[in-house]
Symmetry: C2
Subunit: 406 residues, 2 copies
Amino acid sequence: MTKASKRRLSRRALLAGTASAVSAGVLSGQDNASDPTKVQGELATEVGERSRHETPKRSYFSSARSGSNTPLQDLEGTITPSDLHFERHHGGIPDIDPDNYSLLIHGMVKQPRVYTLPELKRFPARAMTRFLECSGNGFRTYRNPEANREKTPQDIEGLTSTSEWVGVPLKTLFEEVGVLPEAKWFLAEAMDAAVMTRSIPVEKAWDDAIIAYGQNGEAIRPEQGYPARLFLPGFEGSSNVKWIRRIELAAEPFMSREETSKYTDPLPGGKARMFSFVMDAKSVITYPAYPVKLPDQGFWEIKGLAWSGRGKIVRVDISTDGGRSWEKAELQNPVLPKCHTRFRFGWEWDGRPATLMSRATDETGQTQPTLEALKQVRGEGTIYHYNHIRAWTVRGDGSVVFGEKA
Amino acid sequence: MTKASKRRLSRRALLAGTASAVSAGVLSGQDNASDPTKVQGELATEVGERSRHETPKRSYFSSARSGSNTPLQDLEGTITPSDLHFERHHGGIPDIDPDNYSLLIHGMVKQPRVYTLPELKRFPARAMTRFLECSGNGFRTYRNPEANREKTPQDIEGLTSTSEWVGVPLKTLFEEVGVLPEAKWFLAEAMDAAVMTRSIPVEKAWDDAIIAYGQNGEAIRPEQGYPARLFLPGFEGSSNVKWIRRIELAAEPFMSREETSKYTDPLPGGKARMFSFVMDAKSVITYPAYPVKLPDQGFWEIKGLAWSGRGKIVRVDISTDGGRSWEKAELQNPVLPKCHTRFRFGWEWDGRPATLMSRATDETGQTQPTLEALKQVRGEGTIYHYNHIRAWTVRGDGSVVFGEKA
């Protein structure tokens, strides 16, 4: 055990006396009704439920309930429980009967084909644990951090989650239909009320794209695209088209609404970055963060998540002095590519105001810029791909707020 | 794509005509009410639910509902959804208020201590994705495989599951209390109506034991020990004491009921193996398995899970001819130690009866024995630690039954 935690424990009330006195003190003092050792417990169930003392909840993305945010500050490890995975939809969640589901692949192919769900599941499967992040994640604090001092990690960064995804490699299907060499892009079209469409470069299919039907061990959830979705590891959320019903191969991108008026990154001077699919290296501290109030000085573990659409996270640096000095955090093994990576950093809080920051670096060498550096390149108007360094400030009274100022 | 699946697809009805005809055929033909693209979908929710078309369920371990089995045949990948994790309890599931929870550590220690839940969570955490298996898993078919031809993987092997577990290393707490050198064992005691107790060698605490409070990203579930349990990677389920309230260090094991009358392995001649904690290398085929009926010949992917309490699985061999010949299956990456490892094997079924077997080997070289070999060592009376090779037989009509005979 570290010196820090020893100090901490020595400050606390310690039990005096012999072990048996300790034992008596702990194990008695409850009446039978509230003593779980005195009453028969609940019997087994077909499907379990959370403890009534644990009520993690997604928060709504907007008043229109067009999405919801994952409660990052309530979670441990790297997996996001499927019922708490963030959601975002443009026409609500369709109710799809899997018996009526099929996926058409056509366009610049030798032989167009339609696949039912059992047909998709019959192919060799591939599984991978990967993050998924909405490209707009973090939009609240890019322009106006000061107005968001009292927001949680969920409020600010909750549009990112991690699952074990299972499906058929898109490569398998593209080989089956015989994609023509002239085909450079494909349209992915959803079976929802928005008929969501995105154009994706064919290379992604030859690389690691899957048509996913499994999530965290079970069937994909309705809000994640039941019965099947496109999953593009490391690409921005909206391009991972859910409820996918049609793929059309073509020589050029289709220039649909969601890649022209939306999901482009405006730049200073009236230009814009288009098809900026890959999510950049990023990290968020999930503890301590608003609304936590540290009860006392001493040892606290700074915890959070880091990820990159380009590959593995190789290091996360932590600053507790607002970016003047940095130290390496510990990464939870195994570190997987394009996946939430849990980091932990033992911190001895001396009771004075402290500004906590995290900075992730991925295996391609990409690291997080400061907010100022990002704004210099992108300007004030950009609305996607915010991977700048974030800060939480611990005040002298132990309360924690977003941003660099106490 | 493999030749096998090309053959398969060529046997199916293919869509004729141009892509646009294909498109029209697939995308029309539904009235507006049943066409999800014509109606606004459901809005976001705070906690999601499964599709109404997906209803995986645990099955009861016994008529007393003292446990339940994971629906292995319904699952993909390696993670078990927390609400489908197998359960086993000896006095029901206690209802524990985390505010009333504490863990006492005493006995042969320099300074006994009591830890509240926030105190346990304040220590540096450790996370690991690991299997947990009841040592009696597989008991149905050891003595009488013939009576269990029409049982599912869940019925036969459902007392095993995998989660990402998070907690404080027991090593940290043992250093805090100052475990004395004479202490070689510790008692772990539960806060349930059975006051479940097991004796564990101290070495396991110095190695990889944790007091777990997190499971698959969230708080541990009630049936898994909420708010905290002992988790001993690779050790038989019952030793991973749930709802843990007390740890007592001692020079000798305590010889409690659950390690004397139960959880010992009777041997021929009236002797018994005691404290046989480590779960052996094992594997189960989850597809195809009863009650699946393969609709046609051609390519099918044989899928299943392999694991070992001793470390990583290094290979899984598959036989489709009842053990005469074996071929290597593909393992899903990353392969983690003491964790369910998904294996997949592409199989071309020729329509004749076939007996499928899987055989796992771990990094220590341990592999699965045949049922006959295991019985020779353990005799008929043993009731724990069944890691022999299992078989499923595919009949000529495509139906699948447990065992080696069609």
